[in-house]
């Protein structure tokens, strides 16, 4: 009887397993094999680890790696802190029209990645909205070409990312906050804790698992950033704002294709994401 039940259980899992193997596991293994080959287009031969060694000699890849870490180090903390602050403000039952504000802040992440990147591009164009307003208000003397300067191009990407993803992370925090008993806050209030003390002593520690999860997701997302680099700055000026995924795309489809090398670069991203996630989990682990 027991065995029969088990068999039925497995039977229900079979379609999902077949789909996952066919569309996820098989391509991954195939890509791994490709990453040990080299050659142009379809003329590929096995060369072992040369592609992986090649990555670290590639100046543009190193540049794209640096860019990704620049986005990671600046954008992720800014976004998560902002999301946390917004979540704890909007969790306050005294605020009116909370639902409206929550929706408004969450809404950006319902927009298409390509569409929002193109809109930010036109906002920050030389004759775009930001420049026009800044010149009219006298903040700038003449229009500034944000996308032509390496640093300002990166900052535009960061602003765009913060706009797009803050609401998304805020929703996780809001959900986490629902699990914190209001009585805990009441007790703190009676003991005379200030708002800031409650935030750091109660909200943050109790939200730790959620914070950890959002940090891992954002790290993962930032290292695989593609649409913003592709559509907002076109990787420019020069290669100043190009991301790793964008560079991989360029190498695969723009120039003479070398799929072995590009697969190897993809696996390097995978390894980095795995290592960073592991570090974050270790750091966030309370058990001694």
């Amino acid at each position: 009887m027991r065995q029969k039940q088990n068999a039925t259980g497995w039977l229900f899992l079979v379609p999902a397993i077949i789909l996952i193997c066919g569309f996820s596991i098989y391509p991954m293994i195939s890509a791994l094999i490709t990453s040990f080959k080299t050659g142009t287009g379809t003329n590929m031969t096995f060369t072992g680890l040369t592609n992986y060694i090649r990555c670290f000699k590639d100046d543009v890849f190193i540049q794209s790696l640096k860019n990704c870490f620049f986005y990671l180090i600046i954008q992720v903390p800014v976004m998560l802190i902002l999301a946390l602050a917004l979540a704890s403000i909007l969790n306050n039952p005294k605020i009116k029209a909370r639902g409206f504000f929550r929706t408004a802040i969450f809404l950006p992440c319902a927009t298409s990645l390509v569409a929002y990147a193109i809109i930010f591009r036109s906002l920050f164009a030389t004759d775009g909205f930001i420049n026009t307003i800044a010149v009219k208000l006298g903040i700038l003397d003449s229009a500034y070409n944000f996308l032509a300067n390496p640093l300002s191009a990166k900052i535009v990407i960061i602003i765009a990312l913060v706009w797009r993803w803050t609401g998304y992370n805020m929703v996780f925090y809001l959900a986490g906050l629902q699990n914190i008993e209001y009585s805990v806050y009441e007790a703190a209030k009676i003991d005379g804790a200030s708002a800031i003390q409650t935030f750091f002593k109660i909200t943050v520690p109790l939200l730790k698992p959620t914070i950890l999860m959002t940090a891992i997701m954002s790290t993962n997302g930032t290292l695989q950033l593609f649409d913003e680099s592709m559509n907002l700055t076109h990787g420019g000026p020069g290669n100043a704002s190009i991301t790793m995924s964008h560079y991989i795309y360029n190498m695969s489809f723009k120039g003479v294709p070398n799929f072995g090398y590009t697969s190897a670069m993809s696996f390097i991203i995978l390894i980095m994401v795995a290592i960073l996630a592991l570090v974050q989990m270790k750091v966030g682990d309370d058990r001694e």
Partner: protein, 453 residues
């Protein structure tokens, strides 16, 4: 209560189930949905099924511009149908960027049946596709198409190791167009800008900018196309004879980048961020001129309110260069027959009787799309000498054909895209204040790195 939960569960299951099904179907649907723009969906599907059938009279074609090459293909279809009433084309609009990813994935996966029968190819990428994907295009040297009737410099793009892989289509002869009304305000005429060199161009441009506030020229940031156009006008390339990149310490490239920089600093050249902004600079009247391949005429003529205010002439030459000319080239494309085509004879005959054999076709497509033929007999047609109202009554197509015949040939090489991108990065960095020599060295290293395995 319990009943309600059940209903909701059922609903959810249906939604999930149907979305899964839809997801599965999407893969096969893409082809038909894409061809919506060309003709009706049913036709596309039937063509898809039968393209492996030897007797079928339908060919699938990939091209990317509704008003230009797709239009030309449709006209060619009409002409061929006169003698072959059963003949049909299934034209699928495939933007160039998409085509590159699609060709890469199709050939990479070995699933050749997804290829069209005839595919339009950018000239600068032709060599790359033939060498990196040897099974992609058919050798049509012995197909009976008379290749001697095409301009030699154009034919070079689709000829690899002496074999012909394509039927040349449009020409990218370089044109310089100027707003004659703005030049007039500054006291210049079109003649002042004809047969000049870049020094003279900068001199006039500076004056025009001071008097009218218009830049003479605009360019898209992060692109090295203008540098390439300048180089080709004097027959300079970016490759040594042995196929290695010739970028570091190349005095010609350096000179062109210096001219570029000088123009930017003098406000003669306006740098904008995207292609749309670039087109807007001349259509919305911010710059007084355009220098690019002649396919840009289609974009210029969208500004109907400026009709009659434009004039066309040749581009400036590189100063102090012995081989300097006022003629260059940017872009252009070629038709190729893929190995998936099961009815090669039909495809060859179709191309031979239309793009390589019909004056009538070129007479039809030239006035309405500006597609300048590279098939020499067509340029003797009378349509070419007709005055164009938009350009103040100039017979521009005759002029452009003349430019095309004088353009120096330059080998763009298999690694053109890599060199182009590396140079674009160099130009962007030089504009940001870097030293030209060290940037060219970096560009050389990048290209050499990309060529290595």
């Amino acid at each position: 209560m319990k009943k309600r939960t059940k209903i909701i569960a059922l609903l959810m299951a249906t939604i999930v189930g149907s979305s899964l099904l839809a997801g599965c179907g999407a893969g096969t649907d893409t082809k038909s949905s894409k061809s919506d723009s060309s003709s009706d969906t049913e036709k596309a599907d039937s063509a898809d099924k039968t393209s492996s059938d030897g007797d079928d009279q339908t060919l699938t074609v990939w091209a990317w511009d509704q008003s230009f090459n797709i239009y030309a293909m449709k006209e060619a279809e009409k002409i061929y149908q006169k003698d072959h009433p059963d003949f049909k084309l299934n034209i699928v609009e495939t933007p160039w960027d998409d085509m590159q990813t699609q060709l890469g994935t199709i050939v990479g996966s070995g699933n050749y049946s997804q290829l069209p029968d005839i595919c339009l190819m950018q000239d600068f990428a032709f060599q790359k596709y033939v060498t990196t994907y040897p099974d992609l295009y058919q050798d049509i040297t012995d197909s009976g198409i008379d290749f001697s009737k095409f301009a030699e410099s154009k034919l070079a793009a689709s000829t690899i190791d002496g074999k012909n892989y394509g039927v040349p289509f449009d020409n990218g002869a370089e044109v310089a167009c100027y707003r004659t009304d703005i030049l007039d305000q500054a006291g210049y005429t079109l003649d002042d800008l004809t047969d000049i060199d870049w020094n003279k161009f900068i001199e006039i441009g500076t004056d025009v900018y001071e008097k009218t506030g218009y830049s003479l020229l605009s360019v898209q940031a992060g692109s090295s196309d203008l540098i390439y156009q300048m180089m080709q006008s004097a027959g300079f390339g970016t490759w040594k004879d042995d196929g290695t990149p010739d970028i570091a310490g190349n005095e010609h490239i350096k000179q062109c980048i210096e001219i570029y920089q000088e123009m930017v600093e003098a406000h003669v050249l306006a740098v904008v961020n995207s292609w749309d902004e670039y087109v807007a600079t001349f259509t919305s009247g911010k710059t007084a001129g355009v220098i690019n391949g002649c396919w840009i005429l289609a974009s210029i003529q969208t500004a109907e309110d400026q009709s009659g205010n434009w004039g066309l002439t040749d581009m400036p030459a590189i100063p102090d260069a012995e081989t300097a000319t006022n003629y260059s080239n940017q872009g252009g494309s070629t038709w190729a027959i893929t190995t998936n085509c099961k009815n090669t004879e039909l495809a060859e005959d179709f191309l031979a009787k239309t793009f390589a054999g019909s004056v009538e076709l070129y007479d039809t497509i030239l006035p309405s799309s500006g597609a300048l033929a590279t098939w020499l007999p067509a340029s003797e047609s009378e349509v070419y000498s007709e005055p164009q109202e938009f350009f103040g009554g100039q017979a521009i197509y005759k002029q452009i054909s003349d430019f095309a015949s004088k353009t120096p040939t330059v080998d763009l090489g298999v690694y053109y895209t890599e060199a182009n991108q590396a140079l674009a990065t160099a130009v962007a960095n030089v504009s940001g204040g870097s030293d030209i020599d060290s940037e060219l060295k970096t560009a050389q290293d990048t290209v050499e790195f990309n060529m290595g395995q």
